[in-house]
């Protein structure tokens, strides 16, 4: 009898330990979807097209996801125009907010993928219809965090609101946890462990006007990823738009698309130019 109880306890402990290990190592990548890149860490441009009342939450999430060892995020200001569709520029993530209506979701993340299964754009929509109400005010940070997490290839860690919180924004709880947890960062390292033959992301320059940023990481094959027809920045001055000023050999250009998207190009001129 004693032996039987001991065996039962031991069996239970083993099962619990296995369950714990399983939960800690559970895969929560969003299918096979990931940004293509040739090196880590890579820098994703996040176009902030939200209104000023979202500035803190967007800034916090960009900072939190940049803690990852495999990627950094650089926030650039974008127009709030076209927020209903929230179409992102190629190779970048765009975040918008609007009263999208009581449609059943507080936040929505979307990605487009190229024939190789790599993410070429990502967007996050924040639904003010819910998130401006007192009932969901405590969700705001968690929603931004979770949707941007989707945009970089993460799935939910768990989809049961009733179980114990995992203390991650990728876990469904009421309210959502505001930040990623260690498992999210581990998952990103797993997703981005290998390298690709091209980049599907584009890094724009920094917003502080100091220059020195790279003018684009896109080197996807023609017609794929961020290298689709019509996408800039190109190699001619006419495609960069107007000059915002030159300091020594460094010059900054801006081009604004019809949808309000701003493309900033940093140019380092050759000697004598």
């Amino acid at each position: 009898m004693l032996k039987s109880s001991f065996t039962r306890v031991l069996f239970g402990a083993v099962v619990a330990a296995l369950a714990l290990v399983a939960s800690l190592s559970a895969d929560h990548s969003w299918g096979p979807y990931q940004w293509a890149r040739q090196a880590n860490p890579f820098t994703l441009t996040v176009v902030d097209s939200t209104t000023v009342d979202w500035d803190d939450e967007v800034t916090n999430s960009v900072r939190d996801w940049s803690v990852s060892s495999v990627l950094d995020m650089r926030k650039v200001e974008g127009s709030t125009d076209g927020a209903r569709q929230c179409k992102p520029p190629s190779g970048q993530i765009r975040i918008c907010n609007l009263t999208y209506g009581f449609v059943g979701w507080v936040g929505l993340a979307g990605i487009t993928i190229d024939p190789n299964g790599h993410i070429t754009t990502g967007y996050t929509k924040l639904n003010d219809s819910y998130l401006n109400s007192a009932s969901y005010s405590s969700w705001r940070q968690g929603v931004v965090c979770q949707e941007v997490g989707h945009d970089i290839g993460l799935d939910h860690q768990d989809e049961d609101f009733d179980n114990d919180p995992l203390k991650s924004c990728m876990d469904y709880q009421d309210p959502l946890w505001p930040t990623p947890n260690a498992h999210d960062y581990d998952q990103l390292e797993a997703i981005y462990a290998h390298l690709d033959s091209y980049n599907s992301y584009v890094t724009l320059g920094e917003t502080d006007g100091e220059g020195g940023g790279d003018s684009g990481g896109c080197n996807a094959p023609p017609g794929k990823g961020c290298n689709k027809l019509g996408f800039g920045p190109g190699n001619s001055q006419s495609e960069w738009g107007i000059s915002l000023g030159r300091r020594g050999r460094h010059e900054k250009f801006i081009r604004i698309d019809a949808d309000g998207t701003r493309h900033i190009t940093f140019v380092t001129w050759a000697d004598g130019h």
Binding site: G104, L108, A109, T112, P115, E159, D160, F161, D162
Partner: protein, 99 residues
Amino acid sequence: MIPLRRFTLLCLALLTSVAATCAGPSSNEISRERAIEIARSQLSFSPDTIDATRTDSGGRNVWRVTFRGRLPGQPPGLFETLIVEVDRITGEIIGIART
């Protein structure tokens, strides 16, 4: 009389144009059922409703398949939503959105 004839011809031309636009799927287009089957590969929850509409996305003709369902303990009024865009010719998934 001539204006009436012209008006009739104009109406016929318009009707023809509208009929062409509203015509059913082209023969090489994947079916609604096939699009839903392809989109289902992205599901992580049990959907209560499934909707598929023909539209265009990024210059491509797609089936936009929308799944909605409820998760355990989800606050009232919220639904888990998954939207999958499937190229109507190739069957390739070109875009996904989720809550």
